[in-house]
């Protein structure tokens, strides 16, 4: 927090804004991504790729525009969030471009290069970030839209039910001329706004006006009821759309925000019990889920039999063959995984081509984004800001854990995208918006308190001037 003193003799000292630090880091992030391109090109064709300049300039523009917007509209915001997101986005572009070069993919009828589209989506995402920074002068404005958020989020969640399933999950909507959209990615942010707004108002009631039941404090139905209903409704929708990753994400985010709002540990216990019950319940009637649990338990058992299992095993083999230092960008065979290699399984490419070292770096970058988000929540002065920031960064953390844990076989694969890295428009756009909101909250949190008005008494106590 700022070093503002409240004495009247010495004026308020501005907290350093750290904008130049941010600029340097953005330049660094762009440079690393451009090097990644050069690396892929040299490894695959022995020459610098022709598109390198285009992608480099594109990425530099994105980082630059975002930085200028931050400098202008959120000058006190956290200096790490933007460079880290830029780095992941740039790295993701290089990885997607690398997978576009795969001869195995190019031999497929369904092959469409994804890198140029991804750059376009990234631009839209950064545009959205700028819009957030410009339009949202203060994050507390969002409080006003608590219930509208609820309606919009539920609408977005229900929407894909009317569209056909893709690869077993009904999470896409198809708009002719535009392409497919995953509304869940946006619903994630909007429902956080609802949770934060609702919990901020009701948190005292939830925490204090509760009845003791079996050693735990349970809130009154009229306080918890509405939020529980909305939450249960969204989980149900997601379960019926077989979007398990997202339902896990919504659930975790809900528990985290409830815990932060009420400060009651019993919610964690309560949440874990419910999630266990829910997981067992879903796994027992959903064959799609059963396949994935089996693939998780023994990925090699279903070789040649179950597609999910084979895909999982191929992912593990990609990680295994990367080893400690990796094969080098462009020199692995992660495209053996097949159709989801550039979306759900993009981490396998990181694992194979950048190795354990690269994977740890990438995971730490994600960890750093999350911790900067939680730091923002700590620094925020208003409960709404705290809840919103922790909700957004918590959901980000859970998403990273669910996806990375899934492709590494730590937990059953549920099918979500790695934020910023994976090919997919909705994901990259929504996550840029998420970063935008976090930047906005951190700007408010770190902004120095206005200097107090000069005190008329000050003159009186002044001592002799030389």
């Amino acid at each position: 927090m700022s070093v503002v003193t409240n004495t009247t003799t010495i004026g308020a000292i501005d907290a350093p804004s750290r904008r130049n630090t941010e600029l340097a880091l953005v330049v660094f992030a762009v440079a690393i991504s451009v090097f990644a391109y050069a690396n892929v090109g040299l490894a695959l064709n022995g020459e610098l790729p022709s598109g390198m300049l285009g992608y480099g300039i594109g990425l530099a523009l994105l980082g630059g525009v975002a930085h200028l917007a931050v400098r202008k509209f959120a000058p006190y915001s956290d200096p790490l969030l933007l460079p880290l997101a830029t780095l992941l986005n740039g790295l993701g572009l290089a990885l997607i471009w690398r997978l576009d070069q795969s001869e195995r993919f190019q031999a497929l009828d369904t092959f469409v290069p994804a890198a140029s589209k991804q750059l376009l989506f990234s631009a839209v995402g950064v545009g959205l970030l700028v819009v957030v920074l410009v339009a949202l002068k203060d994050h507390r404005l969002l409080q006003r839209y608590t219930y509208i958020s609820m309606v919009v989020a539920l609408f977005l969640l229900i929407l894909p039910m009317f569209f056909p399933a893709v690869n077993g999950a009904k999470i896409w909507i198809k708009i002719p001329g535009v392409g497919t959209i995953q509304p869940g990615e946006f619903a994630k942010i909007i429902i956080t706004v609802f949770f934060a707004g609702y919990l901020m108002v009701k948190r005292d009631a939830l925490a204090l006006a509760s009845r003791r039941f079996m050693g735990m404090y349970l809130p009154r139905g009229r306080d918890l009821g509405p939020i529980l209903m909305v939450w249960a409704f969204s989980i149900l929708i997601l379960v019926f759309e077989t979007d398990l990753g997202s339902s896990l994400l919504f659930f975790g985010m809900f528990v985290v925000m409830l815990y932060v709002a009420t400060e009651r540990t019993s919610w964690i216990v309560f949440g874990l019990v419910m999630s266990a019950a829910g997981a067992v319940g879903v796994a027992s009637f959903e064959p799609h889920v059963q396949d994935r649990v089996e693939a998780w338990l023994d990925p090699f058992a279903g070789w040649d039999k179950v597609a999910a299992s084979e895909q999982m095993a191929k992912s593990l083999m990609a990680f295994g063959s990367g080893g400690t230092l990796g094969t080098g960008l462009g020199q692995g065979n992660s495209d053996l995984i097949g159709f989801a290699a550039n979306s759900d399984f993009i981490l396998a490419t990181v694992g194979e081509e950048l190795g354990l070292a690269g994977m740890m770096a990438v995971l730490l970058i994600y960890g750093l984004i999350v911790e900067r988000g939680v730091r923002t929540a700590l620094a925020a002065r208003d409960p709404f800001g705290k809840l919103l920031a922790v909700g957004l960064s918590g959901s980000f953390a859970i998403q990273v854990f669910v996806v990375a844990g899934g492709v590494m076989g730590l937990i059953p694969l549920t099918g979500m995208t790695m934020p910023f890295l994976a090919a997919g428009g909705s994901s990259v756009i929504a996550n840029w918006a998420l970063i935008g909101i976090l930047i906005r909250i951190s700007d408010t949190a770190r902004r120095p308190a206005p200097a107090p008005a000069p005190s008329p008494d000050a003159e009186m106590t002044q001592v002799v001037r030389p």
């Binding site: 815990y259 400060e263 083999m317 063959s321 065979n333 694992g351 740890m360 994600y366 922790v390 990273v400």
Partner: protein, 484 residues
């Protein structure tokens, strides 16, 4: 709200930590296991991703690599004179894995072996193109050519060893196949392989190492060695206790000789010279099954031999008296590989010392540094030097004035033994023609050889071993002696 926030921060940290630990476990602890998993296609891709190292004979590669397109596999294996060298190299196919040396030495040939780690790391920094290491074999090109061409279009096999070291000099098997025809992964390769697999002549069978034959009369040298070693007889020119006719023990079946040859109480030397069944049959019976097994196992019977390519175990089984007597002349349930009979001849030629047969002389790193050199290794001493020399004298008599005159080489001492192994129900099928021999010069014996020809002469009364197999053996020995 800050206390729960701090806890959430820790919780998020724990999530990332869990991922980091899992990643370390996957990419560090389990990396090798996953990387060499049988379903991991990278293993095949890697095998053909670089120019494969070569298998070298007489300083020249007998293999090569050509670049291909249209699949994951960049390079394809090719062989120079594939049919001749296939029994040595084995095959290495993009679609059908590899066999023999190509498979056993895959690590060196692909350049992925741990022994090459330093070399690989170095070339990573110098930016050299990755290639495989070489396998330098012990084979002698001229001997191999003599063996392969000698067999010609007949079915059979030749194994030749340097008795002094155990180095394998020739390893031929006919009919053979060209591994190049299915080295790729196209439909054509697959068809070519299917055709080879369906061929009733089994061209892909390595007869020198993987087929066991009844050894026929060549086995009499083993029986003779057993008799000398066990003190049944001592002087090879003294009369033996061998009545004629002689009836197989416990039966009323007389054991016959081939034609009217002087076998009654014949000395060891004469009995071997004329290949007397009665003498050696009785000798085996006198020694008994146990002692015969003991002697054969000293020569390497009853267990697999690794050269490093695996050779089937030659068999001398536990058996009843009449069978054991027949086994003494190589006509019962005892069976041997050509390599095993070459080992028998080489142990005798090397004054009783049996050397471990091997065919990899050196392994070379891609930069031609030698990273492994074979040290000759004695496998055992099946017979004493004195007894070995006695058997040598007997075998030399066979070549000089007995059934093996076709193997004579001017200016070189040659010892040998013919064999005509009958087989099939009631000996209905054409016999196998055998010949085992060694050549000797001033510097000891440079070569011992075993030849088997499956489709013997139609005229069964001819001494087929001497007629069909001995000239091949002669040419192989001559090729080795000439190249010394």
């Amino acid at each position: 709200m800050n206390k729960p926030l701090r806890r959430i921060a820790i919780f998020c940290g724990v999530l990332v930590l869990a991922l980091l630990i899992r990643d370390n476990w996957l990419q560090y602890v389990r990396a090798d296991e996953l990387n060499s998993h049988k379903h991991n296609r990278r293993v095949q891709i890697e095998r053909y991703a670089h120019e494969r190292g070569n298998i070298i004979v007489d300083g020249n590669p007998v293999t090569g690599s050509v670049e291909t397109t249209g699949s994951d596999f960049k390079y394809k294996r090719v062989w120079k004179n594939g049919p001749m060298w296939a029994p040595v190299t084995g095959y290495s196919s993009q679609a059908f894995d590899a066999s023999q040396l190509e498979s056993l030495e895959d690590g060196i040939l692909t350049g992925n072996d741990d022994q090459l780690f330093f070399d690989r790391t170095l070339s990573m920094f110098t930016g050299e193109k990755k290639t495989g290491g070489n396998i330098v074999t012990t084979l002698n090109g001229a001997a191999q050519k003599a063996a392969f061409e000698g067999l010609g279009n007949k079915k059979g096999a030749v194994a030749a060893i340097d008795p002094r070291t155990g180095a394998i000099l020739a390893l031929a098997s006919t009919p053979s196949y060209d591994p190049s025809v299915f080295a790729g992964n196209t439909l054509k390769d697959s068809d070519a392989r299917q055709k080879l697999l369906k061929d009733k002549d089994k061209p892909m069978l390595n007869r020198a190492l993987r087929e066991t034959y009844p050894p026929g009369s060549t086995f009499k040298v083993v029986t003779a060695a057993a008799a000398l070693e066990n003190g049944l007889y001592d002087d090879i020119d003294a009369k033996t206790d061998s009545p004629l006719p002689w009836t197989l023990p416990q039966t009323s079946v007389p054991l016959k000789n081939e034609g009217n040859i002087p076998c009654e109480n014949a000395s060891l030397r004469e009995a071997l010279r004329w290949s007397c069944n009665t003498v050696f049959g009785k000798m085996s019976d006198d020694l008994g099954n146990e002692k015969m097994i003991e002697q054969t196992e000293k020569f390497g019977f009853n267990k697999e031999i690794f050269t490093p390519v695996r050779a089937d175990a030659s068999i001398y089984p536990k058996d009843n008296r009449p069978q054991n007597a027949m086994a003494g002349i190589g006509q019962a349930s005892n069976r041997t590989t050509p390599l095993q009979m070459a080992m028998v001849a080489s142990a005798i030629a090397n004054d009783g010392k049996l050397m471990q047969p091997y065919m990899v002389a050196e392994r070379q790193a891609p930069n031609l540094d030698v990273i492994y050199t074979h040290e000759k290794e004695q496998l055992g001493q099946p017979l004493s030097g004195e007894n070995a020399q006695k058997v040598q004298q007997m075998m030399e008599t066979v070549v000089n004035s007995g059934t093996g005159t076709n193997a004579r080489i001017d200016g070189v001492t040659v010892g040998g033994k013919t064999g005509t192994a009958q087989h099939g129900l009631n000996n209905s099928e054409k016999p196998y023609a055998w010949f085992i021999s060694y050549a000797k010069t001033d510097s000891g014996s440079p070569v011992a050889v075993a030849v088997v020809v499956e489709d013997g002469n139609a005229n069964r009364d001819d001494i087929s071993g001497g007629g069909l197999a001995a000239p091949i053996a002669r040419n192989v020995m001559k090729a080795v002696v000439d190249s010394q």
